[in-house]
């Protein structure tokens, strides 16, 4: 059995860890609120722009944008993976990477090549180690990411779509359901999946200014960026809430361990005292 002193150092080290995890829990809880607000604030933009894209699918435009139509056979697929920069947030990143990997394997089985583009340090590190080609990456976006920071990464992928290097673009991120559940999601960005629209059946078209191509181009690029940005802010909200939960359970576990160790420590102390007494008594009896 471990001696009293050893157990005591173990207890104090666990208590120190517990202090850290409970501090992290509280920090994550306060950041989570802000992250959720940010997520809700950016929703109107992506919702409205999706609605416009929905309208557009029913407009009988003479100019069909490349993002709207299918590009023949798919040979190469691009995936934008959004992850967190920091760890200690439970299985959040791992779950996402698993679903991305299974998607990648599924594509490779079909003989397709997959190009990756990562946002966040964790994704970069993970997919580098799994030996995959990373086309572009962005990291250190912080808790309040700026729209500008994403543009470069997205442009790399859109350019390679425009050049015909990839024929499909997906985005993978954690979707925020509520504080307890985050769902790893992989959705298709381009070619666009037509959405439902009501009462749009009659024959109509927009007036485009300055012209159809330019207006549609501007809209499409913003639409893709809005979706990726929305994914990013959702992922941040997920990160904070997942970290809060992971740290809460870590704090609870540390508490349980301290309790058990204290029991062991007390038993050892008691045994030592009993032994000492019996030694004294037997010593006295011998005299």
């Amino acid at each position: 059995m471990a001696s009293g002193k050893e157990i005591r150092t173990q207890i104090s080290s666990i208590k120190n860890t517990q202090k850290i995890t409970s501090a992290m829990e509280m920090v994550a809880a306060s950041k989570m609120k802000k992250a959720q607000d940010r997520m809700l604030a950016s929703r109107p933009y992506s919702e409205k722009i999706s609605r416009v894209i929905g309208h557009l699918a029913f407009a009988h435009s003479e100019y069909e944008h490349p993002y709207m139509k299918k590009m023949g056979d798919i040979k190469r697929v691009g995936i934008i993976v959004i992850s967190s920069d920091r760890g200690l947030c439970g299985g959040l990143n791992t779950n996402l990477f698993k679903s991305v990997l299974s998607k990648v394997v599924e594509q490779q089985d079909k003989g397709l090549v997959v190009d990756l583009c990562t946002i966040g340090k964790k994704a970069t590190a993970f997919f580098k180690n799994s030996g995959m080609e990373i086309k572009a990456t962005t990291a250190n976006l912080g808790d309040a990411p700026h729209f500008d920071d994403l543009l470069g990464t997205i442009k790399v992928m859109l350019d390679s779509y425009d050049k015909g290097e990839i024929q499909q673009l997906l985005v993978a991120y954690n979707k925020f359901e509520n504080t307890m559940t985050q769902v790893p999601t992989v959705t298709q960005l381009i070619p666009m999946v037509p959405t439902e629209a009501d009462g749009m059946d009659h024959h109509w078209d927009y007036i485009y200014e300055p012209d159809a191509e330019e207006a549609l181009n501007a809209l499409m690029v913003r639409y893709i960026e809005a979706l990726v940005y929305q994914g990013l802010v959702e992922n941040i909200a997920c990160e904070q809430s997942s970290r809060m939960i992971a740290m809460k359970s870590a704090t609870d576990n540390a508490g349980d361990m301290v309790k058990e160790l204290e029991l062991v420590y007390n038993k050892a102390r008691q045994a030592a005292i009993t032994q000492e007494i019996s030694e004294i008594v037997s010593g006295a009896a011998a005299v």
Binding site: R38, A41, S42, P44, Y45, K48, I49, R51, V52, H55, L56, A59, C117, T118, T124, K128, I134, K135, A136, T137, T138, A139, H146, F147, D148, L151, G152, T153, K155, V156, D159, W204, D205, Y206, I207, Y208, E209, P210, E214, A215, L216, A218, L219, R222, E225, A226, Y229
Partner: protein, 138 residues
Amino acid sequence: MSTIHVDVVSATESLYSGEANCVFAPSSTGEIGIYPKHMALLSTLKPGEVRVETEKGVESIYVSGGIVEVQPDVVTIFSDTAIRANDLDEAKALEAKQRAEEAMSDSQSDQEVSTTQAALAESLAQLQMISKMRGKKR
């Protein structure tokens, strides 16, 4: 008098949402006025002022470029939050590629060099943009 529903949104917040008598937006071909039952329209915006005229008065919102979509009963204005210029986007794209290459080649000192280089590239790109904009004004 009939009204038209107006939404002005940016990527980070909703700037205005409500009914209006008419809206004026700085379209790239000149300012346009939109009244209820306007034809469907899709246009890019240049930086300027969006004026929303309601019963209570005129609401003025600054947009730094973006897009306007008009349906007979709804106007949606998407305001940009990012500065857009082809050069600037190009530089950002290059940076993202560079970062990926450096992350792939993997070494700590390399990464430090790359962050410094990235910062340098960023400020260079911004300088370029500023001098360009100054050149245009003159």
